[in-house]
């Protein structure tokens, strides 16, 4: 069990970082350049782990990245990676979607506490922006998830995956929910136009402004773990899960590339504009999808 979890975390770490490398590469190609090697993110994180850290604002400051990493690891463990195998079945069956939704908010909250002790105005501003944006992001995503729960009559992810094998993929059955969830997923990934908390032209690096060295590396690692978990979650919910590593990579990568493309061609909203947009369009789409499920099954 423990071994499996460690294996899973390592897999997510590697895949997450390679995805991040691919993200940088694809972005670079669209921008007309070669970009770094795919492994660049590993180099970055290893270098950051070897850096000194002389910034200190008390233990709460250090706890922030740890809480974020905890949220990411727990999310990862609770999301069923492979649909058919018994791999991690016993853990994932204990958690259902509600736990996941809670865990996805844990990280930002922990970060907020840490950055608050840091006292850097840009960090605080970034956190406030992040939490404000979270309100907008969660709404369409939660509505979509609730729709799926009603449709599957269960909040167990494994059950939702299994159901898709007989009833067809959710992306085809409930396209409106998918669109709503995808738009908010773009935001969860911190891609444009929702990359507001860490906008360098406005608030330096936002919540990360004061973090350096090992803690920045931890934040980067948890980011890649979390990204992988979120991709797997979307694949599980809408694309019927994956039964092999190849399928997993293929499906997650498709979603990932779609997010990259959206992120690269649009600029950045202001925070009220983002919330305004998220409250209107994706929420509306998701509500329509929900209504369709409620009234037409």
């Amino acid at each position: 069990m423990i071994f499996q979890i460690i294996l899973l975390i390592m897999l997510a770490y590697v895949v997450g970082f390679i995805y991040f490398g691919l993200y940088r590469n694809i972005t670079a190609r669209i921008q007309g350049r070669y970009g770094p090697t795919v492994y660049q993110s590993f180099y970055d994180s290893i270098k950051l782990f070897s850096k000194n850290n002389t910034v200190s604002y008390g233990w709460m400051f250090y706890l922030g990245p740890v809480i974020m990493a905890t949220g990411a690891v727990l999310t990862l463990v609770l999301v069923p990676v492979f649909s058919d195998s018994d791999f991690l079945r016993s853990v994932t069956s204990q958690g259902n979607l509600f736990v996941l939704l809670y865990l996805m908010v844990l990280g930002p909250l922990g970060n907020a506490l840490a950055v608050g002790t840091g006292g850097n105005p840009f960090g605080v501003m970034g956190v406030v922006r992040g939490l404000t944006r979270l309100i907008g992001l969660e709404l369409p995503f939660y509505i979509a998830v609730v729709g799926l729960i009603i449709a599957a009559n269960s909040s167990d992810i494994v059950h939702i995956i299994d159901l898709q094998k007989t009833a067809g993929l959710n992306i085809i059955n409930h396209p409106l929910l998918f669109i709503g969830a995808m738009i908010s997923m773009v935001g969860f990934f911190g891609a444009s136009p929702f990359d507001i908390p860490g906008a360098p032209q406005e608030v330096y690096s936002g919540p990360r402004t004061e973090f350096s060295g090992k803690f920045l590396a931890l934040l980067m690692s948890q980011g890649s773990l979390f990204a992988f978990a979120k991709l797997v979650l979307i694949v599980d919910l809408f694309l019927g899960g994956a039964d092999s590593l190849v399928m997993l990579v293929l499906k997650t990568f498709t979603i990932f590339v779609a997010i990259i493309f959206i992120g690269i061609v649009y600029g950045r909203y202001k925070v009220e504009q983002a919330v305004d947009f998220l409250m209107k369009l994706p929420t509306l789409i998701a509500v329509l999808g929900l209504a369709r499920i409620v009234w037409f099954g």
Binding site: I26, A28, R29, I30, G32, R33, Y34, F261, I264, V265, Y266, K280, L281
Partner: protein, 136 residues
Amino acid sequence: MAIDVKGVLSPLSAIGTLFEHPRTLTYPEVKKDIPIGYRGFHINNLETCVGCASCEEICMNDAIDMIHPDKEYNVKNTSGCIPRIDYGRCCWCSLCTDVCPPGSLKLDNICTHADCDPDNFLYMPKNHKNIGEEAS
């Protein structure tokens, strides 16, 4: 709620460049050929340099020193000195090359120099006649 359809869709055309060849010059491997007229580092044809110090006089940055060379290259050199340029001062305006009476001082198209010691930026112009040649 009016949706700007063109504004949403037309930026997506940028994705088409994904499969275009990158425009990057991978510099240390592939070097861009810098045109001959580029104002790079100095070269000085010591066989014709007359040591007149015109370059020293016109340089507004006080970047040029006249010093003795290791051996005598030109018997007609009036002062026995040749210019040495401080690259902590030079601005590559090429006024010195414009006034050089025998036209011995020129600017090469080689122009990159990075060093870890800031004391290493006193530059003896390479001794060759034409731009682009290897130093003799």
